[in-house]
Structure formats: C-alpha cells, structure tokens
C-alpha cells in the first residue's frame, strides 16, 4: 500500500447509513494527494457514489471527519464544497436541457447586465474556459441537442468555472463510446498537468490502469486499501473488488433462431419536441436469439421500448408480436401476448418500492386464477408460496418476502423485477439495461438467465448502453444512431469495440441492403 504524507484531502472513518437501513459506507478512510488522478473502484453498490456525495455535501455521514489540507472541515451542502474547491460531475448529468451551454455553465454565478443575464459575457466566459482546458463545446447550442460526451464536457467546465481544484468524476465513461473515452482521458491528463486533482470513479479496470496514479478499492461499503496503480494488476484489483475471481464472460452456445416473434416495420415515433425520435426503422427478433441494440443513450432506444411495450405511442409503421398487430392493444394486451419487459429505470417503472416483495412479484399475475380463490378473494397462501419460490430461485437476499422492496440493495431490487418478468413464460423479452447499476453477482445471474431463456425459446431484445454487455450477450446486433439503424451485425462476436463505436457515433453506417438483413419472417 502506498503512503500519503502530503494528502490534500482526507476522509477518516466515514460511516453512512441510508434511511432504508442500508449501510453504504462503513468506516471508510480515503485520501488524495495534490495533483494526482486517484481512482475509486468497486462494483456497483459498493458505496463509491455515496462517499463522494459526502465529500460534495450532498450526503451527511453518521460518523467520521473530513480534512482539507490538514484542517477539519464540515461540508454541509454543495455550495460549501464548491467554496472549498471541490467540484463534482455526477453519474446523471444535472444540466437544464432547454438552456444553452453558456447559460448552463454560468448558472448560479451568472454575469449580469442590470437584472438580466449578460449572455454575451456568459458566452465569452464559456469560450475562454473551453479554450483554456481544451474542452471543445459550442457555447450557443442548447444542451438538449448535444451528444452525451459533450454534455459531460459542459459539466466538467461548469465545475472548473466555479473554481474546482479537486474534481470528482462519477463513472464518467459509463455513457461514452470508446472514442469519447479516449478523448476524455486526454482532457483529464491535461487538467492534471495544469495542477488539478482528480478523483475518477469507475469499475472498469483497464481505465484505472490507463489513467490513474493511485487507486482506492471499495467493497460493500468498506475500503480495501489504497494502492499505486503501477504495483497492482487488474486481477489483483478485481479480486479485492469482488472478493473472488470473476469472469463476466457469458457462456453460451451459438443461437438457433427460429421464426420471428417481434416484427417492426417502418416504425416512426415522434417525441414531444416533435422530433423523429425513431425514424422509419424495421427489424425483427426471432425465437431463440438475443438481438442487441447498441447505441449511445438518447438515440431513440427509450421511445422504441415504450412503443413496443405499449407505454408509449407511435406515429407510423407496424409492430407485431407473435404475428399480432399491437397498435390497438393495451399494455395488458401486449403482456398477454407473452411480452416481458425489464424497464430501464427499476425504481420508476419496475417496482412499487413501498410495497412488499410479494406484492411486487405478483403485479402482472395478481388476477391469475392460480393466485385467486373461487370467491372474490385473493389466495394469500398461493401468493406466499409463489413468492417464496421466486425469492429462492432468483436468490433475492431479503429477511422475508414481506419485506418492503425499498429496503433491498439495487441488485436485489433488480432481481425482484427480473423474477417477475421471467416467470410468466415469456415469448418475447424486452430487456432494457437489465444490469445497470447492480453488483457483479446479480449481473452474472441475470445474464445467465437471459441466455437460458433464449435456449428455452424466448426471443430477447436487449438494449444496453454497456458495450461489453451488449457485445457479449447478443447473438446479433443492431446499432441505433439518431433514431435510425446504422448497422446490423449478424454475428456480434465478429465486430471490434472501435468499429462499433464508429457506428454509435454516426461516423459510419452500413448500406440499406446490409441493414435490411435484420428483417426475418
């Protein structure tokens, strides 16, 4: 382990318990030296974000202290953090989509002309900063229209503009293409050369190796120590992170696709900004295959999923599932065709956090004859039995199935969702970011189940912003960019990450004939 005599920032013995009883940090020590890029790794749910939110004043620890240059400080809120020169770029961006880059950048410290914002000055500041740090952004364009990589640059500039010398980046690469990641790394190294200190959160070990000087490893809320990156191998880090060796390789036989279950023809979806979020696309998913949709988020995937599941409307085209047109069907009607849906956001759509695991597991099947008596009453014993079985089969860690979902960890909440969706003999599974933000164990489990279900004859449509996932798990791939399909890769294992990145960024696209091969009968 490396010693840090000249720590600019130290966190000592930090403990944080959330209102739902989850201990996110347990006696964590953390320190960074001036001018370094310090990696913070740990699998999802390890408590990285919580620790950094404490540093940024967004969360308050039950125990522990924070020292800045040897002086103990309390950080009551983000403004205090900013005053101490600490800036944070969040996992989810906190920009106002309808405002321009310059307006977002100066928000909170606006240059004024009388009572009004001095727009010209804001633009000047933005351009100057952009120049100084070599982060290219167009000060005038609306944030809404920017690609993710650029939004991130705006966030970084915003933090720098407020005087951040210690910059926290929470999983900045999670949403980027390989090309954008490379660019980001160059920019971060430049920032470091200019004397800034950077805390870089990730769970991608190759990124830590490529970028960081030192790394702190976290596992289930505890620090596993801090190391010079040069001294530890990826395997070492991984073992400390997970507590065992993991290979997130999915083992699967080649797919044996049969007839098409989902058929999409000339589908166009207009979003509330009157833009074609999905623009005249056609594809099909066959029984026994996993078709992945790769693409940077915000390129029409959400709207597509909403249309397929009945949650959203579509303007033109046809969608049919098991040969039936779904245009006039309710959400329930679509589900009754054998459609299962793992939603992108499990807390918004996937569960009712205040209800018990049981009540969440039966939401689709609650009026099924198996769960109801002949009278008008529900059969509580049957519900209990079914729930117990599912909890067991899906290894949902809980004290009882009557426990509120809110009190589970992210991975176990996702297992509740998955258990419900996978247990209704699905003919078509729409898996939208099925493993986002959950631990390795749950991730492995869910990916394996998806492959099993494929082998049992389900058609799987996988939407994932995680390149590794979508490349490994899918049999075939399509890439979405700007609401269109820009490529179809029949054998997902045949394409390189870089090439995929080019399609995702819209820098390259296949011919119509090539893309047209994705339609089957």
């Amino acid at each position: 382990m490396s010693e840090e005599a000249d720590a600019i920032l130290k966190m000592e013995n930090i403990t944080k318990v959330y209102p739902n009883g989850i201990i996110a940090n347990k006696g964590v020590n953390f320190s960074v030296t001036a001018g370094e890029i310090h990696g913070l790794v740990g699998e999802n749910g390890a408590g990285k974000t919580t620790l950094m939110q404490i540093l940024f004043g967004l969360n308050h620890p039950e125990k522990g202290k924070i020292l800045l240059e040897g002086r103990e400080i309390t950080i009551g809120n983000p403004n205090a953090a900013i005053a101490y020169g600490i800036g944070m770029v969040h996992q989810h961006f906190m920009l106002v989509p309808s405002l321009s880059v310059a307006e977002n950048l100066v928000m909170g410290v606006e240059p004024r002309k009388g009572l009004k914002l001095d727009t010209a000055e804001a633009i000047r500041i933005t351009e100057e900063l952009s120049e100084k740090y070599n982060l290219n952004v167009d000060a005038r364009s609306a944030v809404r229209d920017l690609p993710v990589g650029t939004k991130q640059k705006v966030e970084i500039l915003k933090a720098l503009h407020r005087g951040a010398r210690i910059l926290i980046l929470d999983e900045p690469t999670a949403v980027l293409t390989p090309q954008e990641t490379d660019e980001l790394f160059d920019e971060l190294k430049l920032l470091k050369d200019q004397g800034n200190t950077i805390i870089f959160i990730s769970h991608k070990l190759n990124e830590i190796k490529a970028l960081c000087d030192r790394v702190t490893i976290m596992r289930s809320g505890k620090s596993q120590g801090v190391f010079d990156v040069a001294d530890v191998s990826e395997q070492d880090i991984s073992r400390l992170m997970v507590g065992r060796d993991v290979i997130l390789q999915v083992e699967k036989e080649p797919a044996v696709p049969k007839e098409a279950v989902l058929q999409v023809k000339d589908l166009t979806i207009v979003n509330r900004f009157r833009k074609h979020a999905v623009d005249d696309i056609s594809f099909s998913v066959r029984k026994g295959e996993i078709l992945g949709i790769a693409g940077v988020e915000g390129n029409g995937q959400r709207e597509l999923v909403e249309a397929l599941t009945g949650l959203g409307k579509y303007a033109a085209g046809d969608i049919s599932i098991t040969g039936k047109d779904i245009k006039k069907l309710s959400i329930r009607g679509i589900r009754d065709l054998g459609t299962s849906h793992i939603p992108e956001d499990r807390m918004t759509y996937g569960c009712a956090a205040d209800l018990s695991i049981e009540m969440n597991l039966i939401s689709y099947k609650h009026d099924h004859p198996d769960l109801n008596r002949k009278s008008f009453l529900m059969d509580m014993n049957a519900i209990r039995d079914v729930s117990r079985e599912l909890v067991e089969e899906y290894r949902i860690l809980c004290s009882t199935p009557q426990q509120e979902v809110r009190r589970l960890s992210g991975g176990n909440i996702q297992k509740v969702v998955v258990a419900r969706e996978f247990s209704s003999d699905p003919k078509l599974i729409i898996a939208d970011q099925p493993t986002r933000g959950i631990d390795v164990g749950a991730t492995e489990f869910i990916r394996k189940r998806l492959v099993e279900l494929r082998d049992e004859g389900s058609a799987v449509l996988l939407i994932s912003a995680d390149l590794n996932e979508v490349m490994e798990l899918s049999d075939s791939l399509i890439v979405m960019y700007g609401g269109k399909i820009t490529a179809y890769i029949e054998d997902a294992s045949s394409i390189s990450e870089e090439k995929l990145g080019l399609y995702m960024l819209g820098l390259e696209s296949q011919s119509e004939d090539e893309i047209g091969r994705v339609c089957h009968d």
Binding site: I331, D336, P343, M359, H366, L377
Partner: protein
C-alpha cells in the same frame, strides 16, 4: 415496514396525540377561569355516564364511515375531498325515500341507505372521472363540488321536502319504518354502528385481500409501475373514488335515519372533514380507522361536555385537530430519532 418501524409509527402517532392533548390542557389553563373543572370534564366527562359514553359512540358512527371512505380514496393517492359532499348528499337522498316512500321496516332503511350510497358514489366518482378524462385535479374539483352539493341540497330540501308547518327549514318527518333501531337504552346508539363495523371489515378485506383492492394500493404507491404492469389505472381510480363515495353516502344516510326524525341540517355537517383526520391518523388503513374515530369522537364529546358547564368553548377541538394534522404530516417530526433507530438497527 419492519416491526420496529411499525412500532415507531404507532409511537409517533401516540406522541403526536399526547402533544396535542397537552397543548389542549395548556390552552384550558390559559383561557379558563375554572381550569381544573374544565380539564376534568374534557378528559373524563365522556365516561361519567352511560348517556355521555353513548354520545361518543353516536359521534363515532359517522366518523367511521367518512374515515373509511377517505381511506379508500386516499389509498389510490387520489386526494378527493368529496366525502363531505357525498355524506351530505347521501343523507338527502335517504331523507327523500324516508319521507316519501312506504315500505316494510327493514326494507325501507335498506333501500334508503343504498340510494344514499349510490348518490355518494356518483358524487365522488365525478372528480375521479374528470381526473382521468382531462387530468383536472381531483382535489380542486371535489372541493368545489362540495359547495354544489351544499347549495343544491338546500334547494332540494327547500322545494321538495320542506315541511311548511314546521318552524324551521326542515323536511317532513321520516316514516317510522325507515328509521334505524336503537341498540342501547338511554342513548341514541343505533343499528348503524353494526353496519359501520361490518363496513370496516369489508373495506379492510376489499383493500388487502381482493384483486381490485390490490390494484388500488399499487396505484397509490406507484402509478407508473401499475401502468407498466398492465393494470388499468383509470378503472381502478374510478373504482376507488366510487367506492369511497358510496361509503360516505351510506354514512350520511345512516346518520340521518339513525339520529334524526327529520332532515334538519342547514350547514355541511363537517364529518367529511373530520374523516380526513381519521384517515390520516389511521394511515389509510381501515383496521386503524375505529381507533382513530373513537379518539376523535371522544375528544369532541369531551369538549362538548366541558363547554356546557364551564366557560371553555368547544371550538378549541379544532386547534387540537390542526396540531395533530400538522405534526403527523410533518415528515421531519421525529425524523432524527427514526434515523437513529435505523442506524442502530443496521449497524447491529
């Protein structure tokens, strides 16, 4: 909720009530010239005779109905305040039948009560319908509808039911066959209390043991999840409002048929508002509604008795109720203690 958390909620509610009562005593101390006497009457007056205790039970009956009605509507996270109007309007509906129809005993009140319930369900169903159809806030529309109920109701009484020979604006007397039988001699406690008890059981079973109740609860907790799961959310919303309105309407009917000989209300009786406090205290759970209704009824009768023989006005109950609502709704009240408990539990 874990057991300790549920206990914590009970403890929190108990503490709120205690604080409110203490404040009540302080107010008495400050205002009254005979504070000792006033406090005694307020606290144990309801127990000093069968008649007084009977008053508590009589008061409890309408509160049970409105408390249940609101619990059902609020369970779907629909803040429909129409229980007041539904109660009043239901009562008028029952009065019509009690005055104008001639039926055998048991059947007469049954029809009158069901008719009152039907009117109540239409009344509370409308704000629900406006909500799902045009997205208008049920809170605002139900509030407005209460005034419509009030003035339209007075109009109906005045033009169609008014006994011109009576001195005040009251209806013709109810037919004897329509009245609910009294259960306890020397009190007015009537058969309605048994219907109320059945209604408690019915709503509890409905909400927690049937698929329709399940849908209402899921909608109340996360309507997007309900929709995603394929639940017809519009239908469940309407059902919850219609059922809530029905219970309130039945409550109004039972109140007039059990307690009065004519329809005499010139003002909205206010049970719908107090029912909101009942539902809040009971956390929308029908099982707890009787406890909350009893408590509020007891307090009101206590204040009544006190005001009759001392210089304390009984309106001060409103202050206590206000304090209770504020403290219970304030999620940060005792939040620190709750968090400490969570931390302790988690770390152990």
């Amino acid at each position: 909720m874990t057991k300790s958390q549920r206990m914590f909620e009970v403890y929190r509610t108990g503490l709120v009530i205690l604080i409110a009562l203490l404040l009540a005593l302080v107010i008495i101390l400050l205002v009254s010239d005979v504070p000792g006497e006033a406090m005694k009457l307020f606290l144990i007056g309801p127990l000093d005779s069968l008649r007084h205790f009977g008053n508590v039970l009589e008061m409890m009956i309408p509160l049970l109905f409105t408390g249940l009605a609101i619990s059902v509507m609020f369970s779907a996270s629909q803040f429909n305040l129409g229980a007041e109007g539904a109660f009043f309007f239901g009562a008028i509906g029952a009065a019509f039948i009690a005055v104008n129809w001639h039926l055998p005993p048991v059947i007469h009140p049954t029809i009158a009560i069901l008719w009152g319930g039907l009117i109540g369900s239409i009344f509370c169903g409308i704000p629900g319908f406006l909500k799902i159809k045009w997205g208008s806030s049920e809170l605002v529309s139900s509030l407005m509808f209460n005034y419509i109920a009030y003035f339209f109701g007075l109009y109906l009484i005045n033009y169609f039911l008014r006994d011109v020979n009576a001195g005040a604006m009251v209806s013709y007397p109810f037919a004897q066959s329509a009245k609910l039988i009294r259960l306890i001699p020397k009190t007015k406690v009537h058969f309605g209390i048994i219907i109320a008890a059945l209604m408690v059981v019915f709503t509890a079973v409905f909400l927690y043991r049937t698929r329709w109740g399940y849908r209402i609860l899921v909608i109340g907790k996360n309507i997007r999840f309900a929709r995603y799961s394929g639940i017809n959310t519009d239908r469940a919303i309407i059902l919850s409002q219609v059922l809530g309105g029905f219970i309130a309407g039945v409550g109004g009917s039972i109140e007039v048929l059990g307690m009065y000989r004519r329809f005499t209300w010139q003002l909205l009786p206010g049970y719908g508002w107090t029912g909101i406090i009942v539902a809040i205290l009971a956390r929308n759970n029908p099982i707890y509604v009787p406890v909350a209704a009893f408590f509020l009824a007891y307090m009101r009768i206590g204040a009544d008795i006190m005001s009759r023989s001392t210089d304390m006005p009984n309106e001060f109950v409103a202050i206590i109720q206000g304090i209770i609502i504020i403290l219970i709704a304030a999620s940060s009240f005792l939040a620190k203690q709750r968090h400490k408990m969570v931390v302790k539990e988690a770390m152990s």
